[in-house]
């Protein structure tokens, strides 16, 4: 009988996934996680959801388990963005930032939730997360506040586009 492990028992690290994650801002910090679990105790999402555990998310990141992290069963949108894990992490991995980097990867694949996409769309088209309406200025006038100022959308749109060769310095 062979002493070799069954191939199916071995987790294969998906390096291409990890390289893609490392391309996002602060996505490379994940490698410093040593699985201590300091991020778990204060996590409100863990307190209220059995499915959500930042240490487990970080372990999946270390292995590069793309399907579990970015698939339809992914729990990353349960994160409350409270930054308690960022506060606690002795390795300065900033688990919340890794989770947001994973969301960046989902967005790049076109797989962000509709509710999230709606707010993103409002920002990209108006420069605000609360869409403008004349009713807003009417309410503001009741408090002697001036109308909302203009957002120069040409500038915002330019900033949302990556720099390409030939852009004027």
């Amino acid at each position: 009988m062979s002493k070799r492990h069954d191939e199916n028992d071995i987790v294969r690290v998906d390096f291409s996934f990890k390289r893609e994650l490392a391309e996002t801002v602060e996505g490379d910090l994940a490698n410093f996680c040593y699985q201590c679990g300091a991020c778990v105790g204060d996590c409100p999402a863990t307190t209220y959801s059995e499915a959500f555990n930042p240490r487990e998310i970080m372990l999946k990141v270390l292995y590069g388990l793309e399907d579990e992290l970015l698939g339809s069963e992914s729990v990353i949108w349960e994160c409350t963005n409270c930054y308690a894990c960022h506060e606690r992490c002795p390795q300065q991995v900033k688990p919340v930032e890794i989770i947001i980097s994973l969301k960046n990867m989902l967005a790049a694949r076109g797989d962000a939730p509709d509710a999230v996409n709606k707010v993103i769309h409002t920002f990209e088209t108006t420069g605000r997360t609360v869409p403008y309406s004349p009713a807003i200025d009417k309410q503001r006038a009741k408090f002697d506040l001036p109308p909302l100022g203009e957002v120069p959308m040409d500038e915002i749109r330019a900033l949302l586009e990556p720099v390409v060769e030939g852009d004027a310095p």
Partner: protein, 297 residues
């Protein structure tokens, strides 16, 4: 007068103009001058747009910081979300020169350069550090004696502490002291450290969390829930109706933004502070219209 660039963000100017009114009415009495930022956009928000693309998020945030740099002043925020975005941008670009270069390549397209010369200050720390509790106390004409205010810090005012530099996140005191300066009694309920849950995309989590939090506030018999963030405010005002329905329990704890409380204590009447627009109206505050402290002889 200490001058600051005022970054009101999206939620307060559009959804809660009463909060902006209260800020603009109260700060001059503390010798703090706000200068408006022309052409400011959304910070952008640290929940949704940051989830799309962090580099674009940093570039837009850096543009907002450039507007304050052009005026040569620090920037003051009145929303904890804006504070999170802009403080994080300030620190990350200071720590990561390569990232700063990438952001500046984008800013070059609109003729701007981010330098990192304007700090980001949450309005709670500005009144604490620039005016001080004593000056706030001296600005109060209608002390809120006997009012029990449950404290809700929210998350982004305190954490991560090495970026926010506001207070000890495990045992903060700034909001308690700001409430005391108004003559009211702060109450630290047992769930004081909880998040409002707004960013979470699974409704059960924030619903259960808010239910626990409102329950502990109710147990302390607090009159109101004192807020410092408009996002948390929305959760506990609008959201409290939903919680009451789901759990069939009516805690009826009105949420109140700190600067509206300060305005009331400085003598602006209840009816002028927009409380009638709230789902849960803090009518307990009406009594303070009549309780002007005798002016010192």
């Amino acid at each position: 007068m200490k001058r600051f660039a005022f970054f009101p963000g999206c939620l307060i100017p559009a959804r809660h103009p009463a909060m902006e009114f209260a800020i603009r009415a109260t700060l001059p009495k503390l010798d703090i001058e706000l200068v408006d930022l022309e052409g400011a956009s959304c910070c952008p928000d640290p929940i949704y747009f940051k989830s799309k693309d962090k580099l674009s998020w940093l570039a837009v945030a850096a543009r907002n910081l450039c507007l304050a740099e052009d005026l040569g002043v620090d920037l003051v925020t009145n929303c904890s979300g804006c504070t999170a975005t802009l403080s994080e941008t300030y620190h990350l670009l200071a720590d990561e020169p390569e990232l700063k270069d990438q952001v500046n390549e984008r800013l070059a397209k609109i003729g701007k350069t981010y330098k990192g010369t304007s700090k980001v200050r949450h309005i709670a720390t500005v009144v604490r550090d620039e005016a001080g509790y004593e000056k706030i106390r001296n600005s109060v004409t209608h002390p809120l004696m006997g009012l029990k205010v449950a404290i809700h810090y929210g998350c982004h005012l305190l954490k991560p502490s090495r970026i926010m530099n506001v207070d000890n996140p495990d045992d903060p005191s700034v909001l308690e002291n700001l409430i005391r300066a108004l003559g009211a009694d702060p109450v630290r309920h047992r769930n004081w450290y909880l998040c409002c849950g707004k960013a979470c995309q699974n409704e059960d989590i924030p619903n259960n969390m808010m239910h626990d939090l409102l329950g502990s506030v109710h147990d302390e018999e607090a009159d109101i829930l004192g807020m410092i963030c408009p996002t948390c405010f929305g959760q506990f005002d609008h959201g409290q109706k939903k919680i009451a329905k789901i759990f069939d329990e009516d805690f009826h704890t009105p949420a109140v933004y700190y600067f509206q409380l300060l305005a009331l204590a400085q003598g602006i009447p209840y009816d002028q502070l927009g409380f009638q627009k709230q789902r849960f109206k803090p009518t307990v505050l009406q009594q303070f219209d009549e309780t002007a402290a005798p002016s010192p002889a």
